[in-house]
């Protein structure tokens, strides 16, 4: 690794605390814009009449009776000591709750990621190589369809078809590989559509380049040209897209987990927002922010490794 790349990483990592500070303040403010306070929500959801005494007692217990600034400072102080507070609803440490649910979401995201890479590259390449042929038209039709269908609807469609009608997979739950297939596929499909279109257009662009014609004149096999040159060059812009994909996956996981009863972070977030469980939402947003920043950093590093121009620039710097 080159020094410039290390410096680049270091600079980026040094910005992380500022990003987290901004994100945490925004989350703190926005979540309190939601009408009706946690104490009342918790009592109402518990099906008891929220008397003044009960609301006051609960406010004191939750700490929501303190001023906004004091709440933020206390929370911030806790976070610096790696104490993310206690869930308003379960009364358990938030970090413990989220960490318990993180593996399920990661499992789902990784499975979706595998599907995205495993399916979009071959389909994108085929679509580009057989431009305007029937196979290309079929692939393009499905990519447009997959990008257009809302995730929740796609989930139910797959459930109806593969679980109810064909009986291939269970409709809900987690545990075996067969439980994972439908949710992962639902999560991956919109991104697969996006990637296939992207790979197709990038390869078509690359194929127009002079170096390809030169290689053909040198008598190199088409497959060699494709694997060694075209795909490698096409991979550079693809890495940028990979970083954004993570965001899509985390966002999509919220809906997919709900539809397939997948016990991950996304489902927990929905529940926590409903319950006005401030500490959980705040901690969740922090985790997502860290993941985002690190994923973008990894993408940029990969980008630098793949693109010699950037490396040269780094060395000159």
């Amino acid at each position: 690794m080159y020094e410039s790349t290390w410096m680049f990483c270091l600079k980026r990592i040094l910005t992380l605390p500022f990003v987290l500070l901004g994100v945490s303040i925004l989350t703190f403010v926005f979540i309190r814009f939601v009408p009706v306070e946690p104490a009342e929500v918790i009592l109402r959801l518990a099906r008891v009449a929220p008397t003044e005494e009960a609301i006051q007692a609960l406010r004191e217990e939750l700490g929501t009776d303190k001023s906004f600034l004091l709440q933020y400072l206390l929370w911030g102080k806790g976070v610096l000591q790696l104490d993310f507070g206690t869930s308003f609803v379960s009364k358990l440490p938030v970090a413990h709750e989220l960490l318990a649910k993180l593996p399920a979401t990661i499992e789902l995201a990784i499975a979706a990621f595998v599907l995205i890479l495993g399916l979009s590259i071959p389909f994108g390449v085929i679509s580009a190589l057989y431009k305007h042929a029937i196979i290309d038209k079929i692939i393009r039709f499905f990519t447009i369809l997959s990008v257009s269908i809302p995730t929740f609807w796609l989930g139910f469609l797959l459930l109806y078809l593969f679980s109810l009608k064909l009986g291939f997979f269970p409709t809900n739950g987690k545990g075996t590989l067969s439980h994972l297939v439908l949710p992962a596929f639902t999560l991956a499909l919109p991104t697969i559509g996006l990637f296939v279109q992207f790979i197709r257009s990038t390869i078509l662009e690359e194929l127009q380049q002079q170096y390809v014609q030169y290689a053909q004149l040198r008598g190199l096999k088409r497959s060699v040209i494709l694997m060694r040159h075209v795909l490698r060059n096409a991979a550079i812009p693809l890495t940028s897209l990979l970083g954004m994909t993570l965001g899509n996956l985390l966002g999509g996981a919220v809906i997919v987990e709900q539809v397939f009863s997948w016990p991950g972070l996304g489902r927990y977030l929905i529940e926590s927002i409903m319950n006005r469980d401030y500490p959980v939402v705040q901690c969740y947003v922090l985790i997502i922010a860290v993941i985002y920043v690190l994923a973008n950093l990894c993408t940029d590093i990969l980008h630098r490794l793949l693109d010699p121009h950037l490396m040269m620039k780094g060395r000159r710097d």
Partner: protein, 538 residues
Amino acid sequence: MRLTKYLLPLLLVLTFSLLAGCTSTDEEKGKTATPQTNGKMITIGWPLDVGPLNPHTYLPNQMTAQAMVYESLVEYNDDGTVTPKLAESWDISEDKTSYTFHLRKDVKYSDGTAFNADNVIRNFDAVLANRDMHSWMGMVNHMKEVVKVDDFTIRLQLDEPYYPVLNELAFVRPFRFLGDNGFPEGDTTQDSIKEPIGTGPWVLTEYKKDEYALFSRNENYWGEKPLVEQIKVKIIPDSESISLAFENEELDLIYGRGIISLDNYTYLKDSGKYKTATSEPLSTKALLFNTQSGPLAELKVRQAIQYAINKEQMVDSITHGTEKVANTLFWDAIPYANIDLAPILYNPEKAQQLLDEAGWTLQNGEKIRSKNGQPLSLDLIYIASDAIQKPMAELMQGELAKIGVQLNLEGADVMVGLQKLMDDQVDINFWRTNGPPTDPHSFANESATPNASGVYEAKLGLPNAKEIDTKIHQLLVGTDEEERVQLYTDILTMFHDQALFYPISYETNNVIYQPYLKDFAPRASEYDIPYAQMATEK
């Protein structure tokens, strides 16, 4: 860079192996095998995790699960009567301030430990250490002490008479009993419990948070033992997914109000493949009118709205017959509510006449009535996510437009509407009763004191608001049964005559179950699912 050449394949291999790792670890746990229903187990779908099964606290504990494991001293029945449960009998003192309960002697906790007076006192003490949280329950505010008389007798002492004690003791929480071995350090059950040990017919034997809870028959159970060995509660947060799981025979039954959408319920019912059942009413859906200011401060306007809406048609078309038309705020089985009240039936001509009498008239060419230049425009808030309230609100908007009333609709979050009504910012809100066993006294209590139910504020504009409050206080602490009947009759009649509420429908538990399940009667309860009666022929 040679590295990049192998980067993509490497990444693929890595992710596949990671994925394999993830799934195999889960399989090793071996707890989430593909669902199997056999003759010994019944599987039900539920949208929320059952929670820590703490008998003395509320969220995130699910009432339906708490009721499986824990029992109360007395039981409330669908016909409004109260019968013995863990207490085989009780005596009430002359002045109605002291209740002596004689406990059953044949009761053991699921771990084999004894149920006795000491344990009952311990439970009461743990609950009362958190009085504020339970202040919604009138009894808690009147409880002075709970003392042991002998090993199987306890006495509950109140500071003044409070007649609904038995009803409130029957409720699913907080007065249910935890075994001694379930108590945490310092008996602070308000924070957590060590283990869910109860006297009820079921014991939690396997649990995976947010995935499922498996309850097994309590072989130590003192009462009638359940017919099946196990109940599996699968956690499926989405109502559509619950429907699909049921169709896929991963669930044996769907039980409860609002667990699946009415469209899905109707679809499953109409398929002819399944059995269905509906319970007696468990709560009332109504509109609550804000009399603090605006046109609804006038009785004739409130009455006109009620005459203008074709309730029968609305309830039937929107709820597909799963709810029953309500003409009074409480149905007959609710204690003290079986009184003769004249229903307000659909009569648009009468509605127009009432509005004319009140001075809200249609000017030439206008579609909306007005009075002193003010148009007759009202705001109604419904819960945006409620599949029934929204179409009902839209239908009412159309009906009221016919008589020259403009109804502006706003969908809001669950708790926003009532808050706005209390702050006098909105005219009409959807509202529902608590249901048994706490009605009608909890309704009365909430109506007479400012709290988040909205009724106290909504009725501030009534000419006899003060009189209603006085009567409510009398009935809660009065000791004479005849007088109480009279007071309830007066109060409910006043509310009815003043058209403060517009009763719409009685909500029920809707049950749909697989044909191999034997028939059973659903309970008119928010929390008591009759698992013990269920049996499967599969």
